[in-house]
Symmetry: C2
Subunit: 205 residues, 2 copies
Amino acid sequence: MGPRERRVRERDEIREKILDAARDLLVGEGYDAVTMRRIAEKIEYSPTAIYFHFRDKEALLKRLCEHDFLSLPRQFLAIQEIADPIEKLKATGKAYLQFGIDCPHHYRLMFMTPHPPITEHELEKNNPEEDAYAFLKAIVAQAIAAKRFKPEYKDVDLVAQTVWAGVHGAVSLHIAKCNDDWVDWRPLKNRAEVMIDVLVNGLAR
Amino acid sequence: MGPRERRVRERDEIREKILDAARDLLVGEGYDAVTMRRIAEKIEYSPTAIYFHFRDKEALLKRLCEHDFLSLPRQFLAIQEIADPIEKLKATGKAYLQFGIDCPHHYRLMFMTPHPPITEHELEKNNPEEDAYAFLKAIVAQAIAAKRFKPEYKDVDLVAQTVWAGVHGAVSLHIAKCNDDWVDWRPLKNRAEVMIDVLVNGLAR
DNA sequence: CAACCAAACTTAACCTCGTTAGGTTTAGGA
DNA sequence: TCCTAAACCTAACGAGGTTAAGTTTGGTTG
């Protein structure tokens, strides 16, 4: 481990510091507080220094989204203990909901904001412990294998994406339109629970 | 109709022109193209003139969202011909999906972007012909009245919001993450159809 | 060891954007 | 005829993302 490795490590560390600062601003002060200048201020660098580590703001935010999407299942650890796949699915939905309630700005950036395509992935995919989508897929696959769903619902990706979309719809509509008094909104938790129940009932044999 | 009425009419006309210009930019050139300066350029006014008609950009965009949310059901005219409430509900979901496919930028602004609360509504509410949410609610109420749903699903608002959220989840996840090759996305139309079927099945007796 | 060179920064500036201050025109009313 | 308020305009401010150009720093090489 010569000075070469140290350089690489230091580079990764400052990259991580930038991402951490961006996340802190996002969660703590909201969407609009995430500016290159404020990130720089937080880590005591000049704003332009960030451009040495990220091509532009979009790339930075996209990286943050990917990173935190992967780390989501680490918050779902208790769910793995549940044996019944249907209960597991419901618990996952509720945990996902809770993330949306706790970190709405973070949720908005990760799931409600389009990011232009960037062709550089370096992170590990398809590991349920480190990839939220793989986590969900594994549960759906388990439910299908246990013949808990109607026979027409055998496409794991299609079912997983439907369940995801359902809960996401409830959460994201809340985040986008909770200030809209045009609609007589029911409480989010209530809506999300009904959504999960209706979905599971619709999928089940 | 003296000059006083003319003044009011002219004011409304230029307001409408501003909204039309904003909508054109949004649909034609996308989200980022909607700037006060470009709107002004399009209607051949100075940027500051807009501030005489709208308090700020947020108010302008919010007004646009409300206006177009109301005019949505005018695109759903054929649906009123359908007698069966379940089929009606499915058709409404598909029409809503089609709007998301045709106008993704417009959809994003209307349903995926939080707008701060503004306390000034001047538009007519609760008319199914001019209010997309009232339109959906009327269909759900019809289905409930015809005893097509399980007895526990008798809260019209709760059911309407669940159905809305389901289709919205499919559409909005597509708009936000269609460039994300991390997930092996099924086609949107496919996902939306499954979503509608699963929801209806889960709600039905 | 000295020269070099690329990595990792910095300062200063550019451009666009939303918005405001202050001035000007215009038309209806007193 | 004068006044006033509505409906605009020009000019500018400040914040944001980004770039150009220069500077430091530490490892590598002749």
